[in-house]
């Protein structure tokens, strides 16, 4: 335990409350309440707005002057650095898992598919926001092209970056996977994605917080469950830090 400042009664009361909460946090009932709230938030958001309701889009003049990079901002791997320098000629985006027709697309093939451009706001779990113009392929097109199967319940994004020695990954359900603004972006503000923002390809999951927007995407995997992936919580930060899988708040 931390040593409590004894000079202040208020501090003592506050600390008592806080340590009670830390203990409650290990408690089964409290954990299940918190997890019920997370499921509830997802259900309420979708009931209020509709499953396919769009996040707000902005005018070009409303963009932030730059776009912050956070989490992984560089990848040490020599193959990645070589590809970055050459414009990713040998990069492949795989679409695999519970699909009828697995794909392995070059960046040029990704850009040849139907595109969507959107100027959206990126909200980090830490509290900051940035606005940028993204261009890329709606995930729905890729999933349809790969003939995703009925048994698929989640889409997992496999990434080229590692943090704390673990591979970054994220996952979303099929509602978000087929949302019109869920795109695999290759451009930011009219330029190829910079390294710090996830070159060559990153996800945009516009109704959720930044940690869901996987960067440096190598593969898109359709799965029935993410229990056996990583530590089973559906994403890197979910596994490592206990962040909520539904990041709509």
């Amino acid at each position: 335990m931390v040593d409590l400042p004894r000079r202040s009664l208020l501090a003592g009361i506050a600390a008592l409350g806080a340590s009670a909460c830390s203990k409650i946090n290990q408690n089964e009932t409290a954990r299940s309440l918190i997890s019920a709230a997370e499921d509830g938030h997802r259900a309420v958001h979708r009931a209020l707005a509709g499953k396919q309701a769009l996040a707000p889009e902005y005018a070009r003049s409303e963009r932030s002057p730059s776009f912050r990079g956070n989490g992984s901002v560089t990848i040490a791997d020599p193959f990645y650095q070589d590809q970055l320098a050459k414009g990713f000629p040998d990069w492949r985006l795989e679409v695999r898992g519970l699909v009828g027709k697995p794909l392995a697309l070059t960046l040029a093939e990704v850009k040849a598919l139907p595109q969507r451009t959107q100027i959206t706001r990126h909200d980090c779990v830490e509290g900051w926001s940035a606005i940028g113009e993204w261009r890329g392929v709606p995930l729905a097109h890729l999933l349809d092209a790969a003939e995703v199967q009925e048994t698929a319940k989640f889409i997992v994004f496999r990434c080229a970056d590692t943090l704390y020695g673990r591979d970054y990954y994220e996952s979303i359900d099929m509602v978000d996977a087929y949302h019109p603004q869920t795109i695999i972006a290759h451009s930011l503000n009219g330029e190829p994605l910079p390294e710090k923002n996830g070159a060559p390809l990153r996800m945009r999951i516009e109704r959720q917080l930044g940690y869901k927007h996987a960067k440096y995407v190598k593969a898109i995997e359709a799965v029935a469950s993410f229990e056996r992936i990583g530590q089973g919580k559906g994403g890197f930060w979910e596994d490592v830090a206990g962040y909520q899988w539904y990041a709509g708040i």
Partner: protein, 227 residues
């Protein structure tokens, strides 16, 4: 009905007090994640911040060390009793006449003379016989009518999953980072109210007892009061 506080008022008061303690302390932990506040829709560079917030010490936060995930879990959970409680107390106050009889001000209450008189008369007494004085009405009105709803609406506005349901809310508040700044300001407004509220209540501890048991209403108030 001779009690000073109805059961709905007392129930809400204590549930809300618990929720607010959890929300405030977990909120301070969340604030530590990015200690800069901005106006407008975006903001990430400390150079653009209108306020650089201090790092709140562990004893003031839930949990007692920096942990954004646990702090957010508690914050989002406690938001439910807070938000539903606010709806409940407003419905109850309108239905049982508490708002009309005790909290609604008349233009007369806002004059400097009335404010000064109530500050003078207040010292030490609970002002119970004549109900709330103008300063109390204005203060409670600001808390119920402005601070608590602002807390709820700014909280909803900074949720990207809620936004598609009411994009106008974020616009009305001046953008997402403005909503976040107002959320922070309203939190400290409530903190200031709680400090005044506690000091005055501790000066007359029978008032605290009355908020638990219901207390006894002064004789003059037993007959329905008009005006």
């Amino acid at each position: 009905m001779a009690s000073r506080h109805t059961i709905s008022t007392r129930l809400w008061h204590w549930v809300n007090a618990g929720a607010i303690i959890v929300l405030f302390m977990s909120g301070l932990n969340i604030s530590n994640a990015h200690r800069y506040l901005y106006w407008g829709n975006y903001g990430f560079d400390p150079k653009d911040a209108w306020l650089s917030v201090i790092r709140f010490p562990g004893w003031a936060t839930i949990p007692q060390h920096y942990n954004l995930a646990i702090a957010r879990d508690w914050h989002l959970l406690a938001a439910w009793p807070f938000g539903l409680g606010l709806l409940f107390i407003w419905a109850a106050m309108l239905a049982n006449g508490h708002f009309r009889h005790n909290l609604m001000t008349s233009p007369r209450d806002w004059t400097p003379g009335a404010v000064l008189a109530s500050l003078k008369a207040h010292s030490g007494s609970d002002g119970g016989a004549r109900g709330y004085n103008p300063v109390q009405k204005i203060l409670y009105g600001a808390v119920f009518g402005v601070l608590l709803p602002l807390m709820l609406f700014t909280g909803l506005a900074i949720s990207p999953g809620f936004e598609p349901a009411a994009p106008w809310l974020v616009e009305v508040l001046g953008g997402r980072q403005s909503a976040r700044s107002l959320h922070f300001i309203a939190a400290w407004g409530i903190f200031a109210f709680v400090v005044i509220h506690l000091v005055l209540a501790l000066a007359n501890w029978r008032l605290i007892l009355a908020m638990i048991t219901g207390g006894k209403r002064p004789a003059e108030q037993e007959a329905p009061a008009h005006g």
